[in-house]
């Protein structure tokens, strides 16, 4: 994708949140790739997951070592071909990558929001994304696309703004979290909340951050993103240095991997954001508004959908995607579904797997044709 520059939009229109709270004004950071056509019909919105951002493809500078998080699928000739589509990716509010979030300055106090930043939901994000679409002159997305928590946003878009998207592409998602999913999130939150450096979420004022808690949360998360098979393949029981030291330093390669993931996370991610994002996941449940009936929750949907899952994803396994598929075809909506064989677990949605690319590209051709 080459060099890309983040853009910024300030929205003064107050946002009424699902929690009942209000955000008087906020900023959205976003990136765009490709060119918006004259009738504004080729725009694709990419929604990010828990730790993602607006930086989906390309590099921010010549020194940048890592491209955007979905570089594998977005760019010229890729699944979402930027020669054909105008791609918009927005950082969600509550995040720590530039859009208004807990680390932003609260205009009322002149200090970071911290725990005063209101709880946000998938529905709130979708509404802010709609304001961004308004500002960009996009009345209807060709497609709204996302993996994991991003896929939940695509589904929410189809429910909340039925006429504002032609296609929803929902990858490695679920219509709601299971008790087990919530349990993992709760352990992660407890790790952060009980870290003495958390200071009730006001750690910015103390010039510190709950590093231990955030590290544990991230390590736990990573276990759920990988399958047992891929862990065995990648690490097995390989021992660093070839022998056991009978101490609590890193012995097994898998420990080293988790510690490394934790190290790179701390310093680039905000603990309050982690709490907010996991809560947004836990609360997501469109069927909650229709007595648990997902088919009824999707009754207003008009978009055609592609739903994709990965065989080894045990966080949001194929059966969870099938629930979405069923609710869509119960409403006689256009829907296609594929289950992609991949050993990588939940993380597969980020990867370049040949069959995944084939299907994604084939569907995007259909998006371009309509």
């Amino acid at each position: 994708m080459g060099l890309v520059t983040p853009l910024r939009l300030r929205i003064e229109q107050p946002l009424l949140l699902s929690s009942g709270g209000v955000l008087a004004s906020y900023e959205l950071v976003y990136e765009t790739y490709g060119t918006l056509n004259s009738d504004h019909s080729n725009a694709v919105l990419v929604c990010h997951a828990l730790s993602g951002s607006h930086h989906v493809a390309g590099y921010h500078s010549a020194e940048d070592t890592k491209p955007g998080w979905w570089e594998q699928h977005i760019g010229p000739g890729k699944s979402i071909d930027t020669r054909r589509f105008f791609v918009v990716a927005c950082n969600n509010i509550g995040s720590c990558y530039g859009s208004t979030g807990p680390a932003s300055v609260n205009p009322v106090t002149g200090r970071p929001y911290g725990p005063d930043f209101p709880m946000v939901t998938v529905r709130d994000w979708v509404e802010t994304q709609a304001r961004l679409a308004d500002a960009l002159g996009i009345t209807q997305w060709a497609a709204v696309v996302g993996g994991s928590l991003g896929g939940m946003q695509a589904l929410r878009w189809a429910i909340d703004y039925p006429t504002r998207l032609r296609h929803a592409i929902i990858i490695a998602a679920a219509p709601k979290l299971t008790a087990q999913n919530i349990a993992f999130n709760e352990v992660a939150r407890q790790a952060i909340l009980t870290d003495p450096d958390f200071h009730g979420g006001r750690f910015y004022d103390h010039g510190t951050e709950p590093r231990r808690g955030l590290r544990i949360a991230r390590m736990l998360g990573h276990i759920t993103y990988l399958s047992e098979d891929i862990m065995r393949q990648k690490f097995g029981r390989d021992i660093r240095g070839g022998k056991l030291n009978f101490d609590y330093q890193v012995a097994f390669e898998v420990e080293s991997y988790l510690r490394h993931q934790a190290d790179t996370f701390v310093g680039r991610f905000d603990a309050n954001t982690y709490l907010l994002m996991t809560k947004a996941l836990d609360y997501f449940d469109p069927a909650g508004e229709t007595e648990g009936d997902l088919s009824r929750a999707l009754a207003r949907v008009q978009a055609a959908s592609l739903v994709l899952s990965f065989t080894s994803d045990w966080r949001f396994p194929p059966a969870r995607s099938r629930e979405i598929v069923k609710a869509l075809h119960d409403n006689d909506l256009d829907v296609s579904y594929a289950e992609i064989k991949a050993p990588h677990g939940h993380d597969a949605f980020l990867m370049r797997i040949p069959r995944y690319v084939d299907i994604f590209s084939a569907y995007m051709e259909r998006v371009a044709a309509a």
């Binding site: 075809h329 829907v335 296609s336 594929a338 069959r355 044709a369």
Partner: protein, 199 residues
């Protein structure tokens, strides 16, 4: 694909315009695509094979990757006007259960299958060999076809299941309809086609 043209044309003739169709084992989506363009039907194809799923998506057909042996439980009763099972009945684990499921989710069923009573198969069996033909190209040890039947067998099953046959056809391997086929369908017919509903 060429070889399946006539059986697709017969199926297309049987189907009312603008109906809702579920195509079990939809392959590369050709039939649904044809029906969508010529008969304005809508609906879904179910398919297990990875390559076929991708081809169906490329064709613009709604395809859901699923294993027919797992049943149709995710579809509600009477969701479709027609449920089609084209050259797949003989490859499923529970044909009689699938027929019942077809008539639960659909008003009418359409089934096509290779006729095991075709004279060439009979001759090969008489010679002491498992039949291999154009309609049944596999050897016994690698065939996906585990529930082969003749026209009479199929009609017996329909009677037993309380299924009323509305229409039937047989064609030869070039998918032509000839006079001899009409006189001796179970002997000369290579592919059988049936349209049916609950009696």
């Amino acid at each position: 694909m060429n070889g399946r043209r006539l059986d697709f044309r017969i199926i297309a003739d049987w189907i009312r315009p603008q109906s809702r169709v579920l195509d079990l084992g939809c392959g590369d989506g050709t039939l649904l695509d044809t029906l969508a363009r010529t008969k304005k039907v809508s609906g879904y194809g179910l398919e297990l094979d990875d390559q076929h799923v991708t081809e169906s998506i490329r064709r613009g057909v709604n395809v859901i990757q699923t294993d027919l042996d797992a049943g149709l439980s995710e579809f509600d009763d009477h969701s479709f006007d027609y449920v089609i099972l084209s050259l797949t009945l003989q490859a499923v684990k529970y044909p009689e259960r699938l027929l019942r499921e077809m008539l639960r989710v659909g008003t009418e069923g359409i089934v096509t299958f290779p006729n095991f009573g075709y004279w060439v198969s009979r001759v090969q069996l008489l010679r002491g060999r498992m039949p291999v033909s154009r309609a049944l190209p596999h050897e016994w040890y690698n065939t996906p076809n585990i529930h082969l039947c003749t026209l009479q067998d199929f009609e017996d099953l329909c009677r037993k299941e309380g299924i009323r046959i509305l229409e039937s056809e047989v064609v030869d391997h070039e998918h032509r309809r000839r006079l001899g086929l009409r006189l001796f369908p179970n002997l000369l017919g290579e592919i059988a086609l049936y349209r049916f509903r609950r009696a």
